[in-house]
């Protein structure tokens, strides 16, 4: 009997470990609404957050010294150029405001802003994903600061992604570049609707239904707000090229992200979740993987 047990010990261990990983993966893929994130993951996020921060802060400091003091070549010229550009933009902005006031839209927009204004929590990116297959970042704010799974993450440039896991003092956010990410979006100029998907290789693409020439190079892509995962009007990127050979109905446009994901340091967590995510995650609960990771915002 002992010999038999000794013989099957390794195959049993192998099968047991594989079974355990399958249970983990299934549990992580289909979260039950309102449940907390797995305790083990929560503990690891708590540990890795400060450790990664400890290592990344000196690297950031060195980078700041380099860019702030050593690499200040041609800054004067650039400054003059930017000031000129700023003056032009201010003038342009003024003209837009005038046009809006004239059409009576400004008052309505001001009212809407109050209705839709979302509190933003500043947060530092303290670590990147170790695997080249996934695109996520570790943030230094967590459940204690009211960060919950499903909350959008933005930066000064535009949309970054979505919070997917939280611990008391850290959280993980899946970036828009991840191949599991899908965001319902529209073209600002033509209002053509489609889905922005991460390709996984650091790029994003806009897949849309062809209705004439409604997507062109240089078009700005913004979130549509449909399905309530992301608020409407967040900048996603600019179209850099349109591919027509994909199929007759669906075309793909290459999009340059509005956010420089390679230099992501400070981001903001939008402390409000859309109604769809509240239904899926539970109003106060938390989970690891949002369903939007594999579905295009539940179709929106």
């Amino acid at each position: 009997m002992n010999d038999f047990l000794r013989t099957i010990r390794l195959p049993l261990l192998f099968a047991g470990l594989l079974l355990l990983t399958l249970i983990f993966m299934l549990g992580d893929r289909e979260p039950a609404p309102g449940e907390e994130a797995p305790w083990l993951q929560s503990v690891m996020l708590e540990i890795t957050g400060p450790i990664q921060s400890l290592f990344t802060r000196p690297a950031e400091w060195l980078g700041e010294v380099w860019t702030g003091y050593i690499a200040l070549v041609d800054v004067n010229q650039e400054n003059e150029r930017l000031l000129e550009q700023l003056a032009l933009l201010e003038e342009e902005n003024l003209q837009y405001r005038e046009a809006l006031v004239a059409s009576g839209h400004l008052a309505r927009i001001a009212r809407m802003r109050v209705d839709f204004e979302v509190p933003l929590l500043p947060s530092q990116v303290v670590g990147q994903d170790v695997s080249p297959w996934f695109r996520s970042v570790l943030l230094d704010r967590g459940r204690d600061e009211a960060v919950r799974s499903g909350m959008p993450v933005v930066s000064a440039g535009g949309l970054v992604g979505l919070v997917t896991a939280t611990s008391p003092n850290a959280s993980r956010a899946m970036m828009m570049l991840d191949r599991r990410s899908a965001v319902d979006a529209i073209v600002q100029r033509s209002r053509a609707r489609g889905i922005v998907r991460g390709t996984g290789s650091g790029e994003i693409e806009f897949i849309f239904m062809v209705r004439g020439d409604d997507v062109r190079e240089g078009d700005e892509i913004i979130t549509s707000g449909v399905s309530g995962v992301y608020p409407k009007g967040l900048r996603i990127g600019v179209v850099t090229g349109v591919q027509t050979e994909r199929s007759e109905i669906l075309h793909t446009a290459e999009v340059r992200p509005a956010v420089d994901f390679g230099r992501l340091e400070q981001v903001f967590v939008m402390l409000e979740r859309g109604p769809t995510l509240d239904l899926l995650f539970g109003a106060d609960g938390d989970q690891h993987a949002p369903p939007s990771a594999s579905e295009p915002e539940a179709g929106g």
Binding site: M25, P132, W133
Partner: protein, 177 residues
């Protein structure tokens, strides 16, 4: 047992280093240290201990990655068994076989990760322009394999030496009569 715990610690430290390096450069330009630690564990530890170490290292990678919880662990356990298979056919203490196995395992790792993602997340496509990065990572992982193997052997030797010294000290404390 002490070796296994030490390997878990070293491997998880490797994962942390990998995370920091991925932050500074790009994940594709950093050798997969977690995979190499699992490879080394397969060579220097017993089969049961090594398998548990590989599983733990995989879980460690899952914690600092956007993957499903258990995805890396699943892949590492399978890779561990593969390395044991390779070890029975090749002399993995030599430089070239180590590089080759590191290279091949990195590609196998990519294929398994893709397969598991396809099965559980049902959205996993690999773009053509990713192949270059994949090969670069496999080459770097292969190139780093002999160094990790060397470190593994040195650590194991040091641990067994410490263990032997400790046992000798305990032995001298026994009453003579």
């Amino acid at each position: 047992m002490r070796s296994a715990i030490a390997w878990c610690g070293l491997g998880l430290f490797g994962v942390a280093i990998q995370a920091i390096a991925a932050d500074a450069f790009s994940a594709q330009l950093v050798p997969d240290l977690s995979l190499l630690a699992a490879l080394a564990a397969a060579l220097v530890l017993g089969p049961a201990e090594g398998m548990i170490v590989a599983f733990t290292l995989g879980l460690g990678s899952d914690m600092v990655s956007g993957s499903l919880l258990g995805q890396h662990a699943f892949v590492r356990v399978i890779e561990f068994v593969m390395v044991r298979g390779f070890a029975s056919q090749l002399d993995l203490r030599r430089f070239v076989p180590q590089v080759a196995v590191g290279f091949v395992l990195s590609l196998v790792d990519a294929a398994l990760m893709g397969g598991v993602s396809l099965l559980f997340v049902s959205a996993f496509t690999v773009a053509w322009n990713e192949i270059g990065g994949l090969l670069a990572r496999a080459l770097l992982t292969g190139a780093a394999a002999p160094a990790v193997g060397q470190l593994a052997r040195a650590t194991t030797a040091w641990l067994s030496e410490t263990e032997a010294r400790r046992e000798m000290r305990l032995e001298t404390r026994r009453p003579v009569l």
